[in-house]
């Protein structure tokens, strides 16, 4: 069973109860700044502005470094995020996001810069106690193709409110194909957020740091 299949099973399980997940669009007229360090194989920074609640525009920088043969990609891109569908329930919310963009990528094996495009999607479901999200991100150029699949399942020990600190325990599974990492990288994370600030940190099963920071304003 690959990560996507595991994820769908996980989301189905989570739906029985319900997410506080990073979304590419936070709110209308809001700016989102994100930075992630992913266990040495992936580092990403993004900035998006949302003119509408269903649309955001911006750009990012992604560095992928293989823990197999040390090949490296440095991808700089412009991207458009779109909220395809939202379900607002009494005490839950579910979303489907899609995005696409283009930019330039540095390829270490050939020491060249290539045109690169990217596309992806995210499905998420959350309440104030449980959440699940599945995200897939494809980066393609003539020199490479990498797909990053990320599954997150989160559990909050208590229900937070607007002015209180939200605490989440998150299990993350990630696969990065195309010679970057073999197998699924599992992490356990502690996520804290209050109002517009979000920080999470934890470790992979190999003891490597996995961390993320996000701010919405």
């Amino acid at each position: 069973m690959n990560l996507i299949q595991s994820a769908l099973a996980g989301i189905a399980l989570a739906c029985a109860c319900a997410m506080a997940t990073a979304k590419p669009i936070a709110f209308s007229h809001g700016t989102t700044v994100m930075a992630e360090y992913g266990a040495g194989t992936m580092t990403e920074a993004q900035v998006f502005y949302a003119p509408k609640y269903f649309l955001s525009l911006g750009g990012g920088y992604l560095q992928l470094e293989s823990d197999i043969d040390h090949r490296r990609r440095e991808i700089t891109y412009a991207r458009l995020n779109y909220l395809v569908k939202r379900w607002n329930m009494e005490a839950a919310q579910a979303n489907v996001f899609a995005w696409g963009g283009a930019g330039q990528a540095y390829v270490s094996e050939t020491n060249t810069h290539e045109f690169a495009w990217n596309a992806g999607a995210q499905v998420d479901y959350e309440t104030r106690r449980v959440y699940a999200s599945l995200r897939t991100d494809l980066h393609h150029s003539n020199a490479f193709e990498h797909r990053i699949d990320t599954l997150q399942l989160g559990l909050a020990p208590y229900e937070h409110d607007f002015d209180s600190l939200a605490t989440w325990f998150v299990v993350q599974g990630r696969q990065i194909n195309g010679g970057i990492h073999d197998g699924t990288e599992w992490s356990l994370l502690l996520r804290l957020f209050k109002r517009g600030a979000w920080i999470e940190a934890g470790a992979t099963t190999d003891g490597k740091l996995q961390a993320m920071f996000m701010a919405n304003f």
Partner: protein, 107 residues
């Protein structure tokens, strides 16, 4: 006659709206949702204060003295923020009273 006119004028001058507007909103699950709604509603010049309770799926707005925000405008603000308004009621409860009853309900 003069007295009657003054009383009538005073009655007509009394605002027909309440000071607090309470909205039942679906989809409120995280602080970011609340932040977006709070930011949007505070942009309205008639808004005095805003309260968002995720627990009660409640968004409450107090308006400045002598001002009101029509239901259609509130619904549009919430819908444009990505949420669903399920009901709007106008009350005389202040935001402090609402905060108090939310605290009380938690005990």
């Amino acid at each position: 006659m003069k007295k009657t006119i003054l009383v009538l004028a005073a009655l007509l001058a009394t605002p027909t709206f309440a000071d607090t507007i309470e909205m039942k909103v679906y989809g409120l699950v995280c602080g970011f949702c609340a932040q977006g709604i709070d930011k949007t509603l505070r942009k309205n010049p008639a808004t005095a204060d805003v309260l968002v309770s995720l627990e009660h799926q409640l968004v409450a707005v107090t308006t400045r003295e002598g001002q009101d925000i029509p239901d259609v405008e509130l619904t549009r603000a919430l819908t444009d923020s990505g949420y669903d308004v399920k009901g709007i009621t106008r009350t005389q409860r202040s935001l402090a009273e609402i905060r108090g009853s939310i605290k009380e309900a938690k005990r």
